[in-house]
């Protein structure tokens, strides 16, 4: 990846991370861990990979992004605001009464959201339906679906995995945020996910494993997805829950907890010193 593009994406990831910390601090609740872990993925999708137009959120030619792990919406709200879908000042309203930034995404309230999600396990089915509709209509739009690894406990994910490969949805790209933690602890203590790549392969998917914090790798994998035919692609993105804020990293406790003012200040200080 050329230097300027790389710098732009890393700067955007950093902005998204700072927004996440500020938003969750203001809200007094929310999900910082899983939002920070997807910041780089969201950054690459919205600012490098996807075709979309913030000034025309309903443009038919846009690619679609479904946030199946709806609780990571602070990352997506930040990307939408940074991209120009709505004013950045509105990020302060996260989770507050009357806000368009609901605790989990409400597509009817906020432009740029493609589905209302939050009840886990449903996003991949929604994305598959969208992808098949694009095929039926002969459109070339692509559909991206971001899932949590804990979310893969849901049986519906695997129903959708069968459906998507049955229909050969090569316009569908799933991304698993493989941060290894869920609310009650380590994903593999709660329900064994491994061998995860083999599972997806057995379901008929093209599997690409990447470092989910390396924007060059993420972008490269998305490029391979675009050149894969007759089957859907899933990126297993190895990430760190709470990435970028050292005291939140790899701590299940930061799944759904807001930082104190002091903690947020320390987090923002650390993020502002991040070498970009």
């Amino acid at each position: 990846m050329e230097e300027a593009r790389l710098l732009r994406l890393k700067t955007m990831s950093n902005l998204i991370r700072k927004d996440i910390v500020k938003m969750v601090l203001d809200a007094g609740s929310g999900h910082p861990g899983g939002s920070l872990s997807v910041a780089d993925i969201v950054s690459v999708l919205f600012f490098d990979v996807m075709t979309h137009d913030p000034s025309n959120p309903c443009w038919e030619g846009r690619d679609r992004f479904i946030l199946s792990k709806g609780h990571a919406c602070p990352a997506v709200y930040a990307a939408l605001a940074e991209g120009g879908y709505f004013p950045r000042e509105e990020l302060d309203t996260l989770r507050k009464f009357g806000s368009r930034l609901q605790g989990h995404p409400d597509m009817c309230k906020l432009p740029g959201l493609e589905a209302s999600t939050g009840s886990l396990g449903q996003g991949l089915s929604i994305a598959s339906g969208l992808a098949l509709a694009m095929k039926i209509d002969g459109k070339s739009n692509r559909v991206y679906c971001l899932m949590g690894d804990g979310e893969l406990d849901e049986g519906q994910i695997w129903e959708a995995a069968m459906t998507a490969s049955h229909f050969g949805l090569d316009n569908l790209c799933g991304i698993v945020d493989r941060n290894g933690l869920q609310i009650d602890g380590r994903t593999d203590d709660i329900k064994t996910l491994e061998p995860l790549a083999d599972k997806w392969r057995a379901f008929g998917w093209n599997v690409i494993e990447i470092d989910g914090h390396n924007v060059t790798e993420i972008s490269g994998a998305m490029n391979r997805f675009r050149h894969t035919h007759f089957r859907p692609t899933v990126l297993i993105a190895h990430t760190i829950k709470g990435k970028g804020v050292s005291f939140m990293e790899n701590q299940a406790g930061w799944h759904g907890k807001a930082p104190s003012k002091e903690q947020a200040e320390a987090a923002l200080m650390e993020l502002s010193q991040e070498v970009v």
């Binding site: 679609r64 479904i66 409400d106 597509m107 009817c108 493609e114 589905a115 209302s116 999600t117 939050g118 009840s119 396990g121 449903q122 996003g123 089915s125 929604i126 994305a127 598959s128 339906g129 969208l130 992808a131 098949l132 509709a133 694009m134 039926i136 209509d137 049986g155 519906q156 129903e159 959708a160 069968m162 459906t163 049955h166």
Partner: protein, 326 residues
């Protein structure tokens, strides 16, 4: 009273057709005029009669396999791309097993997904309790943004299916498995959200949905022989409820019997009671399943065993009349 063009001879020699045939035939009619309509099946295509649509429009039939939750969310995705998907399977599965998908993904975002909920009621028969949907009305009508229609017969199921495509947002259409009497004709008026008075009367109102409309017509005839004048209302749309017609019935007849092939708890009778008790309280008795599961048997013997016949309605109507205040 306007001519509703009801079926002639319905009480003596009714024609009998399963309402699920109406769903299948309605979809085929829709398919001819609306290219956005797609139909989803979960390995029950002939049972739901959606094989008729599949054979007519194979490119617009989507088989999702035995995966109802995936099917409901998949339909949500199709609707987000402008399709009008009809999720088709037994009521216990599409409204029960996929309830969260219907609530949170479809209804919350008011997505344009239609749900064909088959095998409603104990008249499903031999398959028994596991496959007899008796809670579907209760659990779908409590979800905001959802329209719930329980057509009275074959003709009305055709109309409900066709009209559902004109509503922007989720619609649940409930129908049954067995042959049931045809009480309406093609000419009978049908408007979603509007109840129709099928028989005039002043002493009591029999308010019904689904095949219980026929049973209520039978009850009205039994009551007439006893000198009791019963009003029969076909309230096919459970939500949104036609408050005007229901409250007029309460005011003008002073007693109500509701009839549904479904649990009375939270169901159709409860929906009527919610309207009546808050604006024009009168005695209400409810015919329906009384907090129990169904079982295997012939449809006819099950309808008798669970107190769902015209005879049962007539007897209960007399009780309701006796409850009227001085």
């Amino acid at each position: 009273m306007k001519d509703l063009h009801l079926a002639k001879n319905m009480l003596n020699e009714p024609e009998r057709i399963p309402t699920r045939f109406g769903y299948g035939d309605g979809l085929v009619e829709l398919g001819k005029t609306n290219p956005s309509v797609v139909v989803l099946g979960a390995d029950l295509s002939s049972s739901l009669c959606v094989d008729r649509f599949r054979d007519a429009f194979p490119d617009r039939f989507i088989q999702t396999g035995i995966a109802e939750q995936d099917m409901m969310s998949f339909a949500a995705g199709l609707s987000l791309a402008g399709k009008i998907p009809y999720v088709s399977t037994y009521g216990v599965f599409c409204t029960g097993r996929a309830w969260d998908q219907l609530r949170t993904t479809v209804a919350y975002a008011r997505l344009n997904v239609k749900v064909g909920a088959g095998h409603g009621g104990v008249s499903v028969g031999a398959d028994g309790a596991t496959h007899q949907a008796l809670e579907d009305i209760s659990i779908t009508r409590t979800i905001p943004n959802v329209t719930v229609i329980v057509p009275a017969d074959y003709n009305e199921t055709v109309k409900a299916t066709i009209h559902s495509a004109l509503i922007r947002g989720p619609v649940v259409i409930r129908f049954g498995r067995e042959k049931v009497p045809v009480v309406t004709t093609k000419e009978t008026p049908f408007t979603v959200g509007r109840a129709e008075i099928f028989h005039e009367g002043e002493d009591v109102s029999l308010i019904a949905c689904g095949q219980m409309v026929y049973e209520s017509m039978v009850a009205a005839e039994i009551l007439a022989k006893k000198g009791v004048s019963a009003r029969v209302i076909n309230c096919h749309t459970v939500k949104p409820m036609d408050r005007e017609t229901i409250l007029a019935a309460a005011r003008e007849t002073g007693a109500i019997v509701t009839a549904e092939e479904h649990q009375v708890m939270g169901g159709f009778g409860s929906a009527i009671a919610e309207v009546v008790c808050q604006s024009c309280p009168v005695p209400i008795r409810m015919i329906g399943i009384q907090d129990t599961f169904g079982q295997s048997g012939d449809p006819e013997e099950l309808m008798k065993a669970y107190g769902l016949t015209g005879q049962d309605i007539a007897k209960t109507a007399l009780d309701a009349i006796a409850m009227k205040k001085g």
